[in-house]
Amino acid sequence: MAASDTRSAARIEARERAAEYLVSRHRFRWPEALPWLIAIAAFFIFPDRMTFGGQVLIMVLFALSLDLILGYAGIVTLGHAAFFGIGAYTAGLLIARLGYSEPISTLFAAAAVAALIGFISGWFLLRYRGLTLLMLTLATAIMLQETGNLRSDISGGYDGLPGLTISPLFGKFDYDLYGHVNYLYVLGVLAVVFYLVRRIVYSPFGQALTGIRENVRRMHAIGSPVHRRLVTVYTIAAAIAGVAGALFTQTNAYVTLTVFDFDNSAKVMVMLILGGTGRLYGAFAGAVVYMVLEDYFSKLSPTFWQFGIGLLLVLAVLFARRGLLGLFEDAGRYFSMRKKP
């Protein structure tokens, strides 16, 4: 009797601790404010580098969308640039062909078109895994690029759509030469999207995605609608990548078919891996570190930079599989363990 009492007491305690963890893990913690404070501080510290700052934030958003499918749902894709490109061209074509240039509604349009393409392609592709899925996602991006090239009368072909002008934000704030308005605009969009992604990740739906990543057979066995969940998250990620693409067009005031390049898909994946997958702020750390290093080293020597990023990837796979943030965590744990005894 006594033995079973203590056992059930231990079991109740364990269950309470698990419940407490699940209830508390989505709560706001102070370190989470840090990246946002840095982003705002950057605005005041580097006022003359705000165009570059806007580019960095766009890549953060793009990497965040990849984190949803790669980091949380475990879908390995080589064609995520497809949705970035769709968003970029939605914004570009709205201005160049229809003369519609209101920025915020353009973002919604880009998200909708990218989500539609994401839904259709995801519906077909997400039944496959491994090499087949890699090839199909890669082929999707290249086919979109070739379609754009085929109808160069509309898309402008490889010359792209240059010299796009965007209407003032809220009809009031004009885009200035130094990218100040643009930086705050992109930061605002990033904050809104980040809030949504955070909600998704900590929802039961996000839990189910993690389950699919960790053990898809077991998720099937407990009756989880795996395919529907994957298509849903793929569609959401496509929409976010589309928003990032639209912001890219608005920031640069031009767009070319190179947005669909394999390089673009590879680049965003490298950023995310560098920062750490499946951990929300990995996209921030990775994109910022990558963009700053690229900005610095590719000016010195593009060849040197390419070698460096290759080496970084190899080292990351061999020694730091959980990315920069994972390294920090490990270092933190190491030091706190040293302190205890």
């Binding site: 790669l70 390995v76 080589l78 077909f124 039944r127 496959y128 491994g130 090499l131 087949t132 890699l134 090839m135 199909l136 890669l138 082929a139 999707t140 290249i142 086919m143 070739e146 379609t147 090239n149 085929l150 394999f262 390089d263 590879a266 994946m269 490298v270 891996i273 060849t303 040197f304 930079w305 390419q306 070698f307 990023i309 290759g310 080496l311 970084l312 990837l313 190899v314 990351a316 796979v317 061999l318 599989r321």
Partner: protein
């Protein structure tokens, strides 16, 4: 001869030559992926290395084209062994993503290295006299180089088929592709077998890289641009299947050539449309195991 027949014959001839290039370069990738389930995005880098070795041997050292091809192929095969033993082997049990990242990292590093030494401008090779100009096949002239490609491809297919289907080592490789654990339990040294096939596959890729120079020119971006084609051939053919790789190379080679002849604008679209169509119907490729 009627006009459309001439076009059809040209498409078939050029397509066949292209298919031979695709087969020679991709077959190693297919066997290694079938054997170890390893996604090797650095395969194109080995092909590129072969191409640059051929460029150096012919241009700088003045060696003839054909002996250069052989030297390049053998040396890349040997160079690939330490890569397999010390880098790839650590990741056989890892996820797709980790394999993709490691090998893409290697591809980037090789592109940068070759850009550093050879510059970004495309290179060409001096061909011997008998490979220049045209060859007359009775009703029409064809470029000798492409005819050479087709003959060489046919020869290699025969050799590989014999090696795969009729020798002891071939039987062991097939056994290991079918069921690795079973093969190991009956005493086949799969690790050694894999190092061997990897070296042969990389050597063949280097040969393909050397042959490609005359067709497409050789620049450091070769490693990534053509890699996509090799991966497509492997995926469409089915992992680890010689027959599948051959069929896929033929179908994709002819379709791509036909697309470029008949609809120049749509150029690159065809090969990907065919790929998607095949993979949607047969996700494991023509001869892959479901």
């Amino acid at each position: 001869m009627p006009h459309f027949a001439i076009i059809a014959v040209s498409i078939l001839f050029d397509g066949l030559a292209y298919a031979m290039f695709l087969f020679i370069t991709s077959v190693g990738l297919s066997v290694t992926m079938g054997l170890m389930n390893f996604v090797n995005l650095a395969h194109g880098a080995f092909a590129m290395a072969g191409g640059y070795i051929v460029v150096t041997l012919t241009r700088t050292l003045g060696i003839d084209f054909v002996p250069s091809l052989i030297i390049a192929s053998v040396s890349v095969g040997l160079i690939s062994i330490p890569f397999e033993r010390y880098l790839y082997r650590r990741l056989y049990k890892a996820t797709d993503l980790e394999q993709v990242l490691l090998t893409i990292g290697l591809a980037f590093m090789s592109i940068a290295t070759f850009t550093y030494f050879y510059g970004p401008i495309p290179k060409s090779v001096p061909l011997p006299e008998w490979l220049q100009g045209d060859i007359n096949l009775g009703f029409r002239n064809f470029p000798s180089y492409r005819a050479f490609l087709i003959v060489l491809g046919a020869f290699l297919i025969a050799v590989l088929w014999y090696g795969f289907e009729r020798t002891n080592i071939g039987a062991k490789i097939r056994a290991a592709v079918d069921n690795r654990r079973m093969a190991e339990s009956v005493g086949i040294n799969v690790d050694l077998l894999f190092t061997l096939t990897f070296a042969v596959g990389s050597g063949l890729a280097a040969l393909g890289g050397g042959l490609a120079i005359q067709l497409f020119g050789l620049s450091p971006s070769f490693a990534v641009i053509y890699l996509v084609l090799f991966l497509i051939v492997v995926a469409v053919g089915g992992l680890g299947s010689l027959k599948g790789t051959l069929l896929a190379a033929f179908v994709l080679g002819v379709f791509d050539t036909a697309g470029k002849y008949l609809l120049a604008d749509a150029g690159g679209f065809f090969i990907y449309a065919v790929t998607v169509a095949v993979l949607l119907v047969k996700p494991a490729g023509f001869y892959g195991r479901e």
